[in-house]
Amino acid sequence: MKRKTAKTTKTQKTMTGAQALIKCLENHGVEYIFGLPGGSVIPIFDAIYESKIKTILVRHEQGATHMADGYARATGKVGVALVTSGPGATNTVTGIMTAMMDSVPLVVLTGQTISPMLGKDAFQEADIAGISMPVVKHSYLVKDINSIPRIIKEAFYIASTGRPGPVLIDLPKDMTAGAFTGSLDQPMDLPGYSIPGKGNKTDILQLAKMLKQSRKPMLLVGHGAVISGADKVVRELAEKMHCPVTMTLLGKGAFPETHPLSLGMLGMHGTAFANKALTACDLICSIGSRWDDRINGNNDEFCIGAKKIHIDIDPAEINKIVRPDLSIIGDAKLVLEELLKHVEKLDTAEWLRELEFYKTEFPLNYSNAEGLTAQCVIDTLYKVTKGKAVVTTDVGQHQMWAAQFYKTEHGRDWLSSGGAGTMGFGFPAAIGAQFGRPGELVVAIVGDGGFQMTLCELATAAINKQPVKVVVIDNKYLGMVRQWQELFFDNRLSGVDLVGNPDFVKLAEAYGIKGFHIDKVEDCSRVLEEAMKHPGPALIHAEVIKEGNVFPMIPAGKSAYHMIIEAPKVKMEKPTGST
C-alpha cells in the first residue's frame, strides 16, 4: 500500500539531489549501505526506498562504519555508510579513523543541516567535515546539487585507488531534498591527485642485484601487499628465491602462514623465530608495510647492519620511520611482477637452516595446565574450520593470540584493526564481511571487553540472518592492560576488572541468536564443531583462564633484541615506547 502511494506521487521527470545520489551509487555498483537515519537524511532514505541498493540498518553509527570497513576489507570494494547529521556523524569518527589507519576504502555519507543554517548551531549540526579532517583521505561539503555526480565519482576513485582510505561527503539537507537538474555523468576534476604505478625499473633491477648479494634475506609483507592483491606474486618470488617471509598483523594472508618459508607474524607479539630473524638478517625488504612501532619499537636497533628496502605506494611512507638503502614507490603487485623477472634462486640454504633451528627451539605453544586458555580455543577453532574461515578480531590479547594461532592462507581472510587498535571493531566488521562474502564462514574472535562496545549489532546480524559466528574470549579482564600492569606496574591492577559481565549466551538468545558455552578443554572441539555448523548466527562464549599472558613479547620502545619469550622471573622496567 505504502509503496503504491509513493509511486503515484513521484513524477518521473524531476529528480531530487538524493535520487541523483542514489543513482550514482547504483552506477558504482554499491550493493549495501550500512546506516542509520535521522532528520537530515530522510530525503536520502526516501530515495533508497525505490533503489535496488539494500540498506542495512545498524544500531549505532560506529557499527555502520565498521561494517562498511569489514565489507571493504573482505571484498576489496568500497564500503558505504550513511548517517545523519550531528551525533550520527560524530559517531562515525572512530570508524573513519580505523579505516584511515589501515588504508580501507570507505565512502561515508553524512547528513547536514540545510545550507543557509550552516554555522548557526542548528539542531543536530556538527561540523563533521572539520571534525573528521585529520582522519580522512579526502572530504567534501556539497554546496551545489548538480555537483553530486562528480563528487561521488571522485570520492569512489579517491577512496579505492593508490593507498586507499575513507572519503567523507557531507550533504546539507537542501542538497538532497532540492531538485537536481545536472548530468549524472560528469568528469572528475582532480588535478592534484595521482597514483604511483609500476615503480622505477632501474630501482627494481638494483633490488634484484641486492637480493642476489644477500645471504640472509627476508621479505616483510604488510597490508599493502594484501590490498594490491600481491599474494600470488609474493609466493612466487619467495619460492623462486628461497627467501623467508614474515608478515605484519595486517599482512597476514599476503603469504600462506603454513608455507615452509613463512616465519609468521613479527613484532611485539610476533613469533620468536620471526623476531630472531630480524636480528640476524642481512637484508629486509618491506612490501607494503610502514615499519610501524609494533614491529620496530626502536629504530636505532632495527635490523642492525641489514640492508633495508622499502616498497610502498605512498611516497610519504619512505623515510618516515626507517631510512631505507633503496626505496621503490609503486603498487606492490606491479613492482613484484617486474622484480620476479630479474631474480633467481638465492644462496640461502644456511640461512634457512638457521631459521629452522629457531623454529624448533622457540615454537609458539601454550599449556592448558591451569585450565582452558584462549590459545586453546583459537587453535581448536583453526583446526575445526580447517583454517578456511574469514576471521575478524577485536583488539587486545585475543587479537594477538588469534594472529599467532589462526594461521591465514589468503589475502582478505584476516580482518583486524591494526593501526588504530579499535576495540569494538571485530564483531561489526564480521557482519560487513559476511554481507560481502555470502556463503563463506565468517568468524569474529573478540574479547569480553571490546565485544561489549558494539554488541548492539547482534540485532543487525539476527534480523538480517547473517550467519556470523562470534567467539567471545572471556577472561573477565581488559587483559592486555592487565598484562602490562602485571609485568611492568607491580601487578597493581587498576581499571581492568570486568566484573559484572553479562551471561553472553543468554544475551545472544535475547536477540534470537544461538548461544554456545565452553569452559573446559575437552568440550572445546565438540562445541566449536557444532557452533560452526549452525546455519544462522551463533555466539560462542568461551570462558578462559583469567590471567593468561601473551608471549613472546617485545616491550614497547624496545627492539627485537629484547624479546621476552616466556614470563619473566625478574621485575621489568616500565616501557618507554608508544603505548
Binding site: A129, M133, H138, P191, G192, Y193, D314, A316
Partner: protein
C-alpha cells in the same frame, strides 16, 4: 643543521574552501609553527598559491612536504632556497613623527625604496617592499623614530628563469 632553520615552502593548491585548514593541520599535527603564510589566487583562478615560512627540523619538514603532496587539493608542494628563487615581502609601518624625525625618516625611506602611502595628524604609513633582511633592517631604524605599528605580508616567492614555482 640547526633544528630552528627557517624553511620556505611554495604550495600550489586547488582554490577551494577548506584547503587552508588541511594544509595548516599538516603542519600543526607535527608541531611545526607557521611563521608566515600568504595565500592568493594565481593567474588561473582555479588555483591558489600558498607561500609558507616555518621553523623546524628538516626530517619533519620532509614528512610535511610529502604529506602536503598527498592532499588531494594540493597540486604540488616544495621547499625553495634563495639561490634558485626570488623572494620578497611587503610591510606597512605606522610612525608618529615630529618635524625633525620626519626629515630623517624621509632620508631612510629613500635609501630603502619605501613609499609614503598616508599621512594623517603627524602619523605616517610607510610601505616597503624588499627582502626579509631589508624589511628587518628598516623596521629596526624606524623603531628608534616612533614606530607605532607594523603589518607584514609574509614572504612571496617565485622561481627564477624557465622553471615554474
Amino acid at each position: 643543521m640547526k633544528t630552528t632553520d627557517t624553511h620556505t615552502l611554495s604550495i600550489l593548491v586547488a582554490n577551494k574552501p577548506g584547503v587552508l585548514v588541511r594544509v595548516a593541520l599538516t603542519f600543526a599535527r607535527r608541531g611545526y609553527n607557521i611563521d608566515s603564510l600568504v595565500v592568493s589566487a594565481t593567474h588561473n583562478p582555479k588555483f591558489s598559491r600558498m607561500t609558507v615560512t616555518a621553523k623546524g627540523d628538516p626530517a619533519t619538514l620532509e614528512q610535511i612536504i610529502k604529506q602536503l603532496n598527498k592532499l588531494v587539493d594540493v597540486i604540488h608542494a616544495s621547499e625553495h632556497d634563495t639561490f634558485s628563487a626570488v623572494d620578497m615581502e611587503m610591510s606597512l609601518l605606522k610612525v608618529k613623527v615630529t618635524a625633525t624625525s620626519k626629515t630623517i625618516i624621509a632620508k631612510y625611506m629613500k635609501e630603502y625604496h619605501a613609499k609614503l602611502v598616508d599621512e594623517t595628524d603627524n602619523i605616517l604609513i610607510i610601505a616597503q617592499i624588499g627582502s626579509t633582511e631589508e624589511l628587518n633592517s628598516f623596521e629596526n631604524i624606524l623603531s628608534k623614530y616612533g614606530l607605532v605599528e607594523l603589518v607584514r605580508s609574509g614572504k612571496l616567492l617565485m622561481m627564477k628563469g624557465k622553471e615554474t614555482t
